[in-house]
Amino acid sequence: MMSGSGNSSGAASTAGADGRHDDDAALTEFLSSLMDYTPTIPDELVEHYLGRSGFNCPDLRLTRLVAVAAQKFISDIASDALQHSKARVAAPIKDNKSKQPKDKRLVLTMEDLSKALREYGVNLKHPEYFADSPLTGTDPPTREE
C-alpha cells in the first residue's frame, strides 16, 4: 500500500513535473516567437512610454510583449465598438421602412467607443455641441428676458 501510494505520488509528481516542463517549453517558445512577430505599435513608441513611467528592462522580448498586450487591448475595444455599431445599423428603421441604407461603411464614432470603453472601466463623455454663448439653445422668451 505504502509502496503503491508512494508509486502513485511519484507518478503524480512526475506527471506534474512533465506538465510544468511542457508549460515552460510553451512559454519559452512564445517568448522566442515574439521576436518574429511585428506588432502594429512600434517598439520605439512602447520603449518611450515605458521609459517615461519608470519601466526598466533590457530584454526586448518584454517590450514586444507589452506592445502585443496593448495591441490586443485596442483590438478588443475596437471589436466591441464594431459590435455596437453593427447592432445600431441592424436596428429596424421606424421612419421609412422602404429605404435601405445606401452607405454601409462602418465608422467608429464616439458613441460606440464610449459604450465599448465603459466595459473596461473608462468613462468617456463627449459634449454634443459647443455653444458660443450661455443663451444658445434656450427658448426665445428666455433670451429676451
Binding site: 512559454l27 502594429t40 513608441l45
Partner: protein
C-alpha cells in the same frame, strides 16, 4: 507626420497605430475626435503597464522588471473585466489566463507592421554613457565625492563642459563668414545670379564647411548720385559693378 522634435510626435505615431488596428478589425473610417480619444486611451494603457511593472519590481527590491511583474500588471489592468483564476491568491503567474490569451492572440492574428517610417532624433553622444556606472565605465569617483559608491551612474557633464563643446562647434561655423567691408567697396567671393547672391562656399547637413568653390572675384562700389528726374534734387544710392 510631425518631426521628432515636436512634442506631439509620439501622439501622432500612436494615432497611426490605432487607426491601423481599427482598420484591421473591420472599420473603414473613424471620426477624428474618436481617434484622438482612442489613441489617448492607448497611451494611458502603456503608461499604466509601465507604472505597475515598476512598482511591482520596486516592491520586491529590484530595479529591473521581469516577466512576473509584467504578468501581475496585466492581471491588475484586466481586473475590471475579471479573468479566470483571479480569486486564487496562490495562482502561478506563468500559467495566468491573461498570458495564455496573449499567446492565443499571437497565434491567430498576423503581424501588421507600422505604416510609416519613424524619424529618429539625432543620437546624443552621452545617451548611453550617462546610464553606465563608474565601475562599468572604468572611472574613479572624484575625490571630492568619495562618499558616492562606484555602482551608481556617472555624473553628467557639467554645463560648463557643454558650453565649451558648443563654443568649439560655433567657432567652426564662424570661420566660414568672411570680413568683406573695405574702403567703401565690397570685396568678396559673391556671384550674382539674377536677383540672388550665391555664396562661394557650402555646408553639409551637419553645418560643417565643405570645400570652398572657386568663383570669379567681383568688385563693386556704392556711390551717391544727386541728379534726379522732375528737377528735384534727391540723393540716390547706386550699387555699381565694375
Amino acid at each position: 507626420m510631425e518631426s521628432p522634435a515636436n512634442p506631439n510626435f509620439h501622439g501622432a505615431i500612436a494615432t497611426v497605430s490605432v487607426s491601423q488596428i481599427c482598420g484591421s478589425v473591420g472599420y473603414t473610417s473613424v471620426q477624428p475626435s474618436a481617434l484622438r480619444a482612442f489613441s489617448d486611451v492607448a497611451i494611458r494603457y502603456l503608461l499604466s503597464i509601465g507604472r505597475l511593472c515598476a512598482a511591482s519590481a520596486a516592491s520586491h527590491n529590484r530595479t529591473h522588471c521581469n516577466l512576473f511583474d509584467l504578468v501581475l500588471s496585466l492581471e491588475t489592468l484586466s481586473s475590471t473585466r475579471g479573468f479566470s483564476g483571479g480569486s486564487n491568491p496562490t495562482r502561478p503567474l506563468l500559467e495566468s489566463v491573461v498570458l495564455k490569451e496573449l499567446m492565443a492572440y499571437l497565434r491567430i492574428v498576423d503581424g501588421i507592421p507600422f505604416a510609416k517610417l519613424i524619424l529618429k532624433e539625432r543620437e546624443r553622444s552621452c545617451s548611453l554613457s550617462s546610464s553606465m556606472s563608474f565601475a562599468q565605465m572604468g572611472m574613479e569617483v572624484p575625490v571630492a565625492m568619495a562618499h558616492v559608491p562606484r555602482w551608481l551612474p556617472c555624473f553628467p557633464d557639467s554645463w560648463e563642459a557643454q558650453k565649451e563643446r558648443e563654443k568649439e562647434k560655433g567657432e567652426e561655423k564662424n570661420t566660414v563668414a568672411k570680413e568683406v567691408v573695405v574702403d567703401g567697396s565690397l570685396e568678396g567671393d559673391w556671384m550674382e545670379e539674377g536677383n540672388k547672391l550665391e555664396l562661394g562656399f557650402s555646408f553639409d547637413p551637419g553645418l560643417n564647411l565643405l570645400q570652398k568653390r572657386e568663383r570669379q572675384k567681383v568688385k563693386f562700389r556704392i556711390r551717391l548720385d544727386s541728379n534726379s528726374a522732375r528737377g528735384k534734387r534727391r540723393k540716390n544710392c547706386y550699387l555699381a559693378v565694375d
